[in-house]
C-alpha cells in the first residue's frame, strides 16, 4: 500500500539542543575580546600586534596540522582562536613578536595537535606555549613595560619589533625616555614578594598596573567569566574552587602576619589568577568532567598558585599550577565519579 515511499531512519533522541562546540568556543572569544581591547588601550599597538601575531600563527599552525592529518578544516570550531588570544594575554606587552610566534606555534603544535587536536589535549595549549617561551626566553618574558605610556598608539615598544632569532632590543633607555614617575618595571606580585610593597586591591581590580597584556583588568575578566558561567559555557565550580583553594592557604598566613603575607583579595586580583581561573583553568578539555572533580581541580590550582608565589622562586605561579592540575585532572576525574542512581541506598526496602 505504501511501498516505495522512502522515509529516513534515525536513532533517538530525534531532538537536539542547537548549541554546538563552535558556538561555545565563539562565545569564549567574545568574552575575551573586552579583555584584549583593554589590553590594547592600556599598552597600545604593541599589544595589538602581539594579539594579532599569536592568533594568526595559532590559526595557521592549526590549519597546517589539520591538513597534514587529513581532518578537514578544524578552524571552524573556533577553539584555536581562544588559544591565540589567551596566549597573547599571558605575555608581556613588549614581548618580541617573533618569540610570540614561536610560542603560538608550540602552543598549537605541541600543546594540541600532537595529542590529536581539539578534545584530546592534556594541558591548556596556550599555557604550554607560554611555558615553552618562559624556559626559552627567560629575560624577555619578565621584561615589563609601563601601562598608558604616552604615544603608545603610534610607536611600538622597541623590543616588540626585534628581528627574528635576535636578542630583544633593550627597552631600558626607552622607558627612561618616557619619563614616567616611579616606574620600576616590577609587577605587583614581584613588589610584594621581594620588597613587601602591596599595590592596592582597587588598582588591581580596575586595571592599570604593570603586568602581562591581559593581567590587569580583573573587573573585565570577572564580567567575561560571569557571562560564560551564566550561559553555562564555563563550569563555575572551577573558578570558585581556585579562589577557595587560594584563600584557604593564604588566609591563615595573612591573619598571622599581614606585613609579610598578602591578603586573600590581593592574591585573587593580582597576577594572572583572575584570567587563569576564569579562562585557562576552566578549559573544559583539560579539566575533570565530574562536578566534584571540578571543585577539587580548581582548589588544587588555587593552593599550588599560592604555594609557588609565596614559597617558590618565582613571583607568579598560576601557569605552573594550572599545568600541574591539568596533568592531574584524569586522576581527579577517576576518583570523583558521580554516585550512580540507586547505589548508596541498597539497604532500602520500605516504600
Amino acid at each position: 500500500m505504501f511501498r516505495g515511499k522512502p522515509v529516513e531512519i534515525r536513532t533517538a533522541p530525534h531532538l537536539k539542543r542547537p548549541q554546538g562546540v563552535d558556538e561555545i568556543m565563539r562565545n569564549v572569544v567574545y568574552a575575551l575580546l573586552p579583555i584584549a581591547g583593554f589590553s590594547v588601550w592600556q599598552f597600545g599597538i604593541s599589544s595589538l600586534a602581539l594579539i594579532v601575531t599569536t592568533t594568526l600563527v595559532a590559526m595557521l599552525t592549526e590549519r597546517l596540522f589539520s591538513h597534514l592529518s587529513g581532518r578537514g578544516n578544524t578552524l571552524k570550531d573556533w577553539s584555536v582562536v581562544i588559544t591565540g588570544i589567551l596566549l597573547a594575554l599571558t605575555l608581556p606587552p613588549g614581548f618580541p613578536l617573533w618569540m610570540a610566534a614561536v610560542a603560538a606555534f608550540v602552543a598549537v603544535a605541541l600543546g594540541k595537535a600532537l595529542f590529536g587536536g581539539l578534545g584530546y589535549n592534556v594541558m591548556n595549549p596556550a599555557l604550554v606555549g607560554r611555558a615553552f617561551v618562559q624556559a626559552a626566553f627567560p629575560v624577555a618574558i619578565t621584561t615589563w613595560t609601563p601601562a598608558f605610556a604616552p604615544g603608545r598608539f603610534t610607536e611600538f615598544v622597541p623590543s616588540t619589533l626585534t628581528l627574528p632569532f635576535m636578542k630583544p632590543n633593550p627597552v631600558g633607555e626607552w622607558i627612561v625616555g618616557l619619563n614616567i614617575d616611579g616606574f620600576t618595571g616590577a609587577t605587583p606580585l614581584a613588589m610584594q614578594k621581594f620588597q613587601h610593597i602591596f599595590v592596592s586591591t582597587t588598582d588591581l581590580f580596575l586595571g592599570g598596573v604593570v603586568g602581562s597584556s591581559g593581567e590587569a583588568p580583573a573587573l573585565l575578566i570577572l564580567l567575561g567569566g560571569l557571562y560564560l558561567a551564566a550561559r553555562r559555557m564555563l563550569d563555575w565550580r572551577i573558578p570558585v574552587g581556585v579562589f577557595a583553594g587560594a584563600a584557604a592557604v593564604v588566609l591563615p598566613l595573612w591573619l598571622y602576619d599581614s606585613f609579610t603575607y598578602p591578603s586573600p583579595l590581593f592574591v585573587w586580583f593580582s597576577g594572572g589568577l583572575m584570567l587563569g581561573a576564569w579562562f585557562m583553568a576552566s578549559d573544559m578539555i583539560a579539566s575533570p568532567v565530574t562536578p566534584l572533580g571540578a571543585f577539587v581541580y580548581g582548589a588544587l590550582i588555587g593552593v599550588l598558585t599560592v604555594v609557588i608565589r609565596l614559597f617558590g622562586g618565582l613571583s607568579e605561579g598560576v601557569m605552573y599550577a594550572i599545568l600541574l592540575a591539568n596533568a592531574a585532572s584524569p586522576l581527579i576525574a577517576s576518583i570523583t565519579q558521580p554516585r550512580v542512581y540507586g547505589q548508596a541506598r541498597r539497604q532500602g526496602g520500605r516504600a
Binding site: M1, V7, G119, V340, Y341, G342
Partner: protein, 452 residues
C-alpha cells in the same frame, strides 16, 4: 484543601539531571480525542508486547468480528490479541515492524459493510472477583503498558507473596515532547482511570495510589482531584515538568523520595507503576469483559497538517494514519513514540501497536533534521549534569569509541542507562552517545563475561 495547597507548592521532582526541551504540546493538548475511519487492511503483529508472541487462533479466510480473540497468550508473560475490526483474515504472514525485522502478523481485510460494533463482551462486577480472577481478566483483555514499554499488565499485578505491593504509582507525566494522549485521557476518561486504579488496588492489596502528573497539565490534576475524596487512598500530585519525569525510576524518586537499588525492580520498594492510559483502558474494558482493540495516539510534528489525539484501532498501518492527517506527502522521518525515545519506522506499512503512544512526523529540511558536525568530546560535563541516573556519559562515550564495552559495564554502570537521550540531546559535540550505549549494551548481552 490540602490538595489545593499542594498546587501552590514547588512541585516535586527527581534529584539529579533532566532537561527541558521545547514541549510542542500546545498544538494538540486542547484537541479532544477523535476517531478516524477504519483502514481497509489492519495488521495485528503477534509480538506487540514484551514476552512470548501470541499464538494465532484463526485461519486464513475466516471471518472475524470486532473484539473477537484472534490469538492466545503463550505462557505467563504473554497476552492475547483481539480483532480490531470486523472482516476476513487475509493472511498470517511476516510483516514489517518498527524494530526492523519482519515478524509474524495477522492481516485482516476490513469489511467495509460492517457496522464495526463490538459484539464480544461479558459484563462482570469486577470488584467482586478474587485477585486471581482479576489477574486472569487483565490477561484476557490483552492489556500491556500503554506508555510505551508494552509489558504485560497482569504480570505486574501478580507480585510474589514475599514482595507485596503496598504503593501504586500512576504515571500521568507524559514528559515526551509532542505527546498529549495521556493528557487527554486524564481529562476525558477520568472516571475510567479511577476505576482502573480501584481494580488494581483491589487486585494487589495496595494501601494507597499516587497519581503523578507533570505541572504543565494542571487542568488534568484538577480534573482528577475533583473526583477524589480528600482523605481517600488515591491522591494526585503535580510533579515538575522535566524530561524524563515519566521514567519509572524518576517518578518513584519524585513521589516517594526513594531510589530503586541498582539492578532492582520497583517491587523491591513495594511499588508498582502503571501508565494512566493503561489503567483507563482497564477501567473501561474489564467491567465489559472486552479486549484491547484500540488506543489513543497523538499524531503530531511539523509535517502533520491535522495534528490531534486519535482513537486508533490497533494494527492500523502508519501510512494510512498519515494519509488521514495530511502528513503522507511531506513525511520524511516518522517516529513511533515521542521524539526523545521513539523509533523511526523504515516502512509506512508498519502498524500501530499497543505500545505506540504517539506518531511524530518530520518533513525534510525541518530544523531537527539538519545534519550536524560531530566534534570530539570536549569534556564540557553537560551530559554528566543532565544524566538522570547520574552516570558519566562522557567517560562512557570515550570507552565506547575504544570499544571497551566490558569496562563500560563493570566500571561505569552502563546497564543503569535507560536510553532517555538527555546526554545526546545536550552534547555540543553532537556525539550520538545514546546510540553508542545501545550498541554497547547489545554487545554486552552477547558477551557472557560481562552479562549482568
Amino acid at each position: 484543601m490540602m490538595r489545593l495547597l499542594n498546587l501552590f507548592r514547588r512541585h516535586k521532582t527527581f534529584s539529579h539531571g533532566g532537561i527541558h526541551p521545547l514541549e510542542y504540546k500546545e498544538r494538540t493538548a486542547g484537541l479532544a480525542i477523535r476517531r478516524l475511519p477504519f483502514a481497509p487492511r489492519i495488521v495485528v503483529p503477534l509480538a506487540q508486547h514484551k514476552g512470548a508472541p501470541a499464538v494465532p487462533l484463526v485461519t486464513v479466510g475466516q471471518q472475524v468480528v470486532r473484539g473477537e480473540p484472534i490469538a492466545g497468550a503463550d505462557g505467563h508473560v504473554s497476552v492475547p490479541m483481539h480483532a480490531p475490526a470486523t472482516g476476513r483474515i487475509a493472511a498470517i504472514d511476516l510483516w514489517p515492524t518498527a524494530e526492523g525485522p519482519k515478524a509474524p502478523a495477522i492481516v485482516i481485510e476490513v469489511s467495509q459493510a460492517a457496522n464495526q460494533a463490538v459484539l464480544y463482551d461479558e459484563p462482570v462486577d469486577i470488584l467482586a472477583l478474587s485477585r486471581e480472577e482479576i489477574v486472569q481478566a487483565v490477561k484476557d483483555a490483552g492489556l500491556v503498558g500503554l506508555g510505551g514499554a508494552a509489558f504485560p499488565s497482569h504480570v505486574k499485578l501478580a507480585a510474589p507473596p514475599d514482595k507485596p505491593i503496598r504503593t501504586l504509582l500512576i504515571n500521568g507525566c507524559e514528559c515526551e515532547p509532542y505527546l498529549t494522549c495521556d493528557h487527554r485521557v486524564m481529562l476525558e476518561k477520568t472516571e475510567a482511570l479511577l476505576h482502573g486504579i480501584r481494580i488494581v488496588m483491589h487486585a494487589t492489596g495496595a494501601e494507597r495510589a499516587l497519581i503523578g502528573v507533570e505541572d504543565n497539565k494542571m487542568d488534568a490534576v484538577r480534573a482528577i482531584a475533583d473526583k477524589l475524596a480528600d482523605d481517600g487512598p488515591i491522591s494526585v500530585h503535580a510533579v515538575e515538568a522535566k524530561y524524563p519525569q515519566g521514567a519509572e525510576k524518576m517518578l518513584i524518586e519524585s513521589l516517594l523520595g526513594e531510589q530503586i537499588p541498582e539492578g532492582g525492580l520497583p517491587l523491591d520498594l513495594g511499588v508498582a507503576v502503571y501508565n494512566v492510559g493503561t489503567l483507563a483502558q482497564m477501567g473501561e474494558l474489564l467491567p465489559l469483559g472486552r479486549g484491547l482493540i484500540e488506543r489513543v495516539v497523538t499524531v503530531s510534528g511539523p509535517a502533520v497538517v491535522h495534528p490531534g489525539n486519535y482513537l486508533v484501532p490497533i494494527g492500523t498501518p502508519v501510512g494510512f494514519l498519515l494519509q488521514q492527517v495530511g502528513a503522507d506527502a511531506a513525511a520524511n522521518e516518522v517516529i513511533l513514540g515521542g521524539p526523545m525515545m521513539g523509533m523511526t519506522v523504515a516502512s509506512l506499512d508498519v502498524p500501530v501497536t499497543k505500545g505506540v503512544s504517539g506518531i511524530v512526523v518530520y518533513a525534510a529540511g525541518d530544523a531537527d533534521q539538519q545534519p550536524r558536525t560531530v566534534y570530539p568530546c570536549i569534556k564540557c560535563s553537560r551530559c554528566v549534569e543532565v544524566c538522570p541516573m547520574h552516570l558519566n556519559p562522557s567517560m562512557l562515550g570515550q570507552l565506547a569509541q575504544k570499544r571497551e564495552y566490558g569496562r563500560m559495564e563493570q566500571e561505569h554502570h552502563l546497564s543503569q542507562c535507560f536510553e532517555c537521550g538527555c546526554c545526546a540531546y545536550v552534547c555540543p559535540s553532537n556525539i550520538p552517545l545514546t546510540q553508542y550505549f545501545r550498541i554497547a549494551k547489545a554487545i554486552n548481552r552477547e558477551t557472557p563475561a560481562v552479562a549482568v
